[in-house]
Every structure is written in C-alpha cells, then in structure tokens.
Amino acid sequence: MPTFVYMTRCDGCGHCVDICPSDIMHIDKTIRRAVNIEPNMCWECYSCVKACPQNAIDARGYTDFAPLGHSVRVLREEEKGIISWKIKFRDGREKNFVSPITTQPWGEKIPKLGDLEVPDQAALDSQLLCFEPDALNVETGLPVISKDKLKEGVYY
C-alpha cells in the first residue's frame, strides 16, 4: 500500500519529489501540495517519508502484514545522523528503534558499486542470478538518468 500526504502538514517544498526513486511523488496542480500520483507503483521504500522535513508523509501498509490500527512512523535527523522508528501494533504494543544513519561524515566512505567485479558465467548461471542480465532489460531502451541530474547527497 502506498504513501499518502497529510495536507495540513505539507508545505509543498518538493523534497519528496526529488527523492522518490519511482518518480511518483509530485506536486498536485490544484492544491499545490505533494501527492502520490501512482499509488499502485509505490514500493514503500520510505524515501519520501524520511525526506519530508514536515513529517507530512505516512505509508499505509498492506493489511496482510500490517492490520488496520497499526502505525509505523519514522523520524530522520540528518544533522544528528540518527533515524528513529516508532512501531505501534494494534494490540497496543509499541516498539521503538534508534539507529545511526551513517557513522561517517556525509560524502565519505561511499561504496563504489561500479568498481566491483562483474559476475562471471558461473555466477550468472547460479540460482541467484539466473534471470540476469536479460531480465534487467538493459538493451531494450530503458531510460538513463545521468549522475549530474541527481540531487546532491544521492550517490548512486
């Protein structure tokens, strides 16, 4: 189930629009607030939820694993390098998690995935990668975004 925006909290800043990897968070033309334009394509990565400075975005989990009455909310504090989660079960139990976002200063020790070894034929024939590279559809005209168009702080 997708993310949704609390209109009374959103100020239309656009951080969620910038960060959404599926390009489905946009600014509604009529009400000038953020909106998820394609809820069924949302994979609940929580990028927009974490990026929102007003905590105006929440996600509705599918009811098979998150029955109605639950609450999952996150607070990402960049300058402290901390991300906190509060999970409320509908039977009243509550779990709180506090973790570091990163233990290194921003911009340092970023893994260079492009420099890692390319899988050999044996790895490609294994169960883990058996559908690749064909299933990635790389040769069939996928759109490419150049790295200089990515927002600062988004490294891959």
Binding site: R9, H15, V17, K29, E79, K80, V98, K151, G153
Partner: protein
C-alpha cells in the same frame, strides 16, 4: 497622495452609510462563509477527530493552564511571526502580505467609520497606514505570485497559469493594486480613471471577501488551529505517533536536505 483619505473625497459621490454598510456586509460574508465552509467540508469534525486520536496516544495530561500557554505561544510564534514556514523567502513574503492586509483593512475601517464625510479632517496617520499597508500587500503578493508559488518553482508551470486556488491571492493583489492606483488618480484629479479604478477596487474587494467559500481565505483561521493542535500533540507526548527526537549532538551537517529541491 499618501496623506489624503481617499474615502472622504469619495463620500461626495457615495454617502458614508453606503460605504459603512458595504464594510459590514463584507465582514459578515467572511464570517458566514467561513462557518459554512467549516460545516460543509467537515473541517471541525476532522479537527476534533484528530484531537481525540491524539488523546488516546497521549502519555501525559495537558492541563488547561498549559493549553492556554500553548495557545499564547502559537499566537506569538506561528501566527504573529509565521514560524511554520521553513523557507525564509516564503516566510518574508507571507509576513509582508499578512501585516499589509491587517494595516490596510484596519485603516480602511477607521477611515470609513470615523472620517468618511467631505468635511472630515483625517489624521494623517490613517491614510499613511492605508497606503503603506497596500504597498506591503503588493510587494509581498507579487513576489509570491511570480517567484515563490509552489507549482511555479517546483513543477515549472507558467506564472500566468491561473486556477480557482489562486482566487484569494489574485483578488488580494488586485485589491491593493487598484486601491493604490485609485488613490493616485484621485490625488492627481484624473476623474474618469479615478472612477474606473475605484470600481475595480470594489470588484476586487467583493471577490476577495465574497469568495471565501471558493478560495483559501478561510485557511487563515484553520492554520492557527492546526498549529495549536500540533503543539498540543508535542506537549501530551502523542506526537502524531512520531518518535521522540534523539538526544544526540548535531555533528554531521545536512545531507540530502542541504540542497533545496530543484530537480523536477
């Protein structure tokens, strides 16, 4: 021009009681339409449901004394200084527009109710405040319209793209602009233009105050209520189910938030 009461000059054509009746009607339209809007959109129901939901997750009781203190802080921060705005430009534009509107409306009411006969001697303060308020409205309003509106900056729509959501800001800017032009024409004795711009000023004011049901005017009453509710949720521990801020030093600097969103 700026020390002349334009309404006392106008009272030669339009009697004082007509102007006063108009002001009262506009005031009643705002109140009535806001109340109707609250009932129609069920905003009050949503607001109180939200408040009940927060009370269920509250970890402590907030007494009436504390609520009064929260209301005072909401008034001095979110209302008087528009502190909810994260963007400095939006905050400044909003403050200019808000205080400009307040000065303009108060000065209009004082001049119409106290100094609107041809023989009135208006203290120079009121016309000065009236013109200054209109000027502040114009500066803040035009700045917002051309440079700060969300979908213009964010989604690249043209500045001249107009829709119903723009009713409030456009009628506000139009009212202030036509008021200043009317005053200028009156001070320079340009009779035809003076009448035209006075007419346009009245049309813009009527659209502004009469269009409350279709515009965002009523948000000026809803936003302080929402800000108050937000503060109460922080005080009672419910925090809209958000985690508490971590008790850690700010040693990292900004990451994704150091750049304002611009990649659309």
């Amino acid at each position: 021009m700026i020390s002349i009461n334009p309404f006392s000059e106008m009272s030669a054509l339009i009697p004082s009681f007509v102007m006063q009746t108009y002001v009262v009607v506009m005031f009643l339209l705002v109140i009535g339409a806001t109340l109707f809007d609250v009932v129609h959109k069920k905003s009050a129901k949503y607001f109180f449901n939200n408040s009940e939901k927060a009370k269920k997750s509250a970890t402590r009781e907030v007494g009436s004394g504390e609520k009064a203190s929260i209301a005072f802080k909401t008034a001095t921060n979110e209302v008087l200084t528009s502190s909810e705005f994260c963007s400095t430009r939006r905050r400044l534009a909003h403050l200019l527009t808000m205080y400009g509107f307040v000065l303009f409306v108060i000065a209009t009411a004082v001049m119409i109710f106290s100094y609107s006969t041809p023989s009135s001697v208006t203290p120079s303060l009121w016309p000065l405040l009236w013109h200054f308020g209109a000027a502040m409205l114009c500066v803040g309003g035009y700045w917002f319209w051309f440079f700060i509106r969300v979908d213009v900056a964010a989604e690249g729509n043209k500045w001249y793209r107009v829709m119903r959501a723009d009713l409030f800001v456009l009628s506000l800017i139009a009212m202030a602009t036509f008021a200043l032009i009317w005053s200028y024409c009156q001070a320079n004795g340009v009779a035809v233009w003076q009448t035209l711009f006075f007419g346009l000023f009245i049309v813009a004011s009527t659209v502004l105050f009469g269009g409350v049901l279709w515009s965002k005017f009523a948000h000026m009453f809803y936003k302080p209520a929402a800000a108050f509710q937000k503060r109460v949720t922080k005080a009672d521990g419910s925090r809209e189910n958000l985690p508490e801020p971590a008790d850690m030093p700010e040693k990292f600097g900004l990451g994704i938030k150091r750049e304002a969103p611009r990649h659309y």
